[in-house]
């Protein structure tokens, strides 16, 4: 009894049903499996993504926001902190002079929105990177070594997962004396790494049992080689997707923490501070609330859409 398809790449029967009616689009299985399985995956994803408006538009938006954060002076020549309440400059409506009007303290609201991007995005970025590094390492170790390492790390993960995010972050931030983007990011990292750790652990355990990893192991690959060359590349896609969404959620978290009084403090400039200082005025001057909320919502929305698109592109099951 022999499979008539004796030449070419063997397709596993598990995938048979889906491959049966989905025409193969570019051969991804060639070459040495396990060496660079994701090169095809990522390359494929990229080709697919650049054609999707739900990916391209948010990406452009995020790039613009990033440029606000990196080179705000290209966007405005005004100083966001040159404020005065004297002379009726408080809460002016948008005008040619002040595109977004002025804040309650008479600051140029446009300049504040531009410069506010830096702190908001910095917190999100540092937070997300930290979460990926810490959560990634812990999840990787727990998944890879298993046994006692896993038991202990999983309990530690449970502890931090059980702490309510917002309350935990508030406790942590009240302990810290200084409030700057770094400490706020630290709070987000300490409370946020657990989910990544779980995702990573799950992916690593799944990858550990993949045939080619077993094969590499049988061929005597070293632990570190197994981990970094064979397992990590497989586990990285879901982490990237989640981290992208986290970027968005962290932008939102900055606003919430600042609103609750444990975030950034004036005279720093951030979207969260803008919202906090003006949330009570939205009946009289809605633009004071809507402008910073618009920036936050736009950014969060963009990151989530990018994350969604990445997931669709990277998940072979959904192709």
């Amino acid at each position: 009894m022999t499979d008539v398809v004796s030449s070419g790449a063997a397709r596993t029967s598990a995938a048979g049903t889906s491959l049966d009616h989905t025409p193969p689009s570019g051969e991804v299985t060639g070459g040495e499996p396990g060496q660079q399985p994701e090169a095809g995956l990522w390359g494929d994803a990229r080709r697919q993504l650049i054609r999707k408006p739900m990916f391209v538009i948010p990406t452009i938006f995020v790039l613009i926001m990033t440029s606000l954060a990196v080179v705000p002076f290209l966007w405005t020549s005004k100083d966001p902190l040159a404020c005065t309440v004297s002379g009726g400059l408080s809460r002016n409506p948008p005008s040619a002079e002040h595109w977004f009007g002025t804040s309650i303290l008479g600051c140029d609201y446009y300049a504040q929105a531009i410069y506010g991007a830096r702190n908001s995005l910095l917190i999100a970025l540092v937070g997300a990177i930290g979460v990926v590094l810490i959560g990634g390492v812990i999840g990787m170790l727990a998944g890879f070594f298993g046994g006692w390492t896993d038991a202990i790390l999983s309990r530690v993960t449970d502890i931090f997962l059980g702490l309510p995010f917002l309350l935990g972050a508030i406790v942590f931030l009240t302990v810290l004396k200084t409030r700057n983007p770094w400490t706020i990011a630290a709070a987000l990292i300490i409370l946020g790494w657990t989910v990544i750790a779980r995702i990573m652990r799950g992916s690593v355990i799944a990858a550990k049992h993949l045939d080619y990893v077993q094969a590499a192991k049988a061929l005597g690959a070293s632990r570190s080689r197994l981990m970094f060359r064979h397992i990590l590349p497989n586990a990285v896609a879901p982490v990237v997707v989640y981290a992208t969404i986290l970027l968005g959620l962290f932008v939102s978290a900055e606003a919430t923490l600042t609103f609750l009084g444990v975030g950034l403090q004036p005279p720093s400039v951030s979207w969260g501070i803008m919202i906090t200082q003006h949330d009570g005025y939205y009946h009289e001057d809605p633009f004071l609330l809507l402008i910073p909320v618009g920036f936050v919502v736009g950014t969060v929305l963009s990151f989530i859409l990018i994350g969604d698109a990445l997931r669709d592109a990277l998940d072979p099951r959904l192709r």
Binding site: P164, V171, G248
Partner: protein, 336 residues
């Protein structure tokens, strides 16, 4: 199954103790660096030293380790564990109200709020998710996708304020002006803030706001997992069996698609209870969120440790319950 549950319950012990220690340490460090929080009770007026000292001691913050930066205060932690586990004494807040009383007073409100939020996110989230999943790529799908992402993106404080001021106050006032409008609606469902006259009805709007974020997640999860399952072989089998399409979706696809939703709910329960701070504040719901929130700032460590530990426990029990439910939903999973 029994052994599995016992093993999981045993695992709770290190987790709960660990969480308590983290909280104990953080709050101790806070006191070590910021000074005796009891002092703030007296406001601008400096109290007689003896009064301050006596009160500090009575509130359990007299341990000298609280004056040594980074001292982990193990003996104080021991005393706290002893009081809590051997004498069921969770301490008091600065007004010397027992933490157990505070929880007993506040928890029912938060529990109701959470229940409403969960029901809302479940019912609406799943319906919307199914709708979007079945119309994959269509108008409804995009509408659901964009609106759920929007719900996630709008900070809850903004959403809460808008709902309160426009729906509950403005629209509610219109209803309150209508003759013959039942109070349950005009002063219950549309009460401007939580009202003790309608303890359930006036939690509806706060519950919807609280559930909105998770609603979006439930809808997205349902949609994604439905899309995944709709292509499953057994769904094709169901169609080959000549079953009507709503039975194919409602029975054969949905049951499987709910598994990730259930998993999410487990983690969400704890998050909702702990995340209700903002919602409870906006709608003045006397729940535990605002108790902890106030306690953090005033340095009422016993309240923080007591309530947050309880939330951790709720989270753990919920995740255990979810795992059991998981086994019910997916017979392939067996715990032993």
């Amino acid at each position: 199954m029994g052994r599995y549950v016992i093993r999981r319950l045993l695992q709770f012990v290190p987790t709960v103790l660990g969480a308590m220690f983290v909280l104990h340490y953080l709050t101790s460090v806070a006191i070590q660096f910021t000074g005796n929080p009891v002092r703030a009770i007296f406001g601008d007026r400096t109290p007689p030293q003896s009064v301050l000292e006596n009160l500090t001691r009575r509130l359990g913050l007299g341990d000298p380790c609280l004056e040594q930066p980074f001292n982990p205060c193990f003996s104080l932690f021991g005393k706290r564990l002893d009081a809590i586990f051997l004498h069921l004494d969770f301490g008091t807040d600065f007004n010397e109200r027992a933490v157990t009383d505070i929880v007993a007073g506040a928890l029912p409100h938060t529990a109701r709020l959470t229940l409403i939020a969960i029901l809302f996110e479940l019912v609406v989230g799943i319906i919307v998710g199914v709708l979007a999943g079945l119309r994959n790529g269509g108008f409804w799908d995009y509408l659901v996708k964009v609106s759920t992402v929007l719900l996630i993106a709008v900070p809850v404080l903004v959403l809460g304020l808008l709902v309160r001021d426009f729906v509950n106050v403005k629209f509610g006032n219109v209803l309150r002006g209508v003759d013959g409008m039942p109070e349950l609606i005009s002063r219950g469902f549309f009460a401007p803030t939580w009202s003790s006259n309608h303890p359930w009805a006036s939690l509806l709007m706060p519950g919807l706001v609280l559930g909105a974020l998770s609603l979006a997640t439930v809808a997205r999860l349902t949609r994604a997992s439905l899309l995944e399952n709709v292509r499953a072989d057994y769904v094709r089998t169901a169609r080959a069996k000549g079953l009507a399409s709503n039975r194919v979706v409602g029975v054969h696809t949905l049951r499987n698609s709910l598994i990730p939703v259930v998993t999410f709910l487990g983690t969400d329960l704890g998050a909702l209870m702990g995340g209700a701070v903002v919602t409870e504040g906006i709608f003045s719901v006397p729940g535990i969120g605002r108790q902890v929130f106030a306690a953090i700032f005033t340095g009422e460590t016993t309240v923080v440790i007591g309530i947050v530990t309880m939330l951790v426990l709720v989270y753990l029990i919920a995740s255990l319950a979810v795992d059991m439910l998981y086994a019910v939903l997916d017979p392939r999973i067996r715990y032993d």
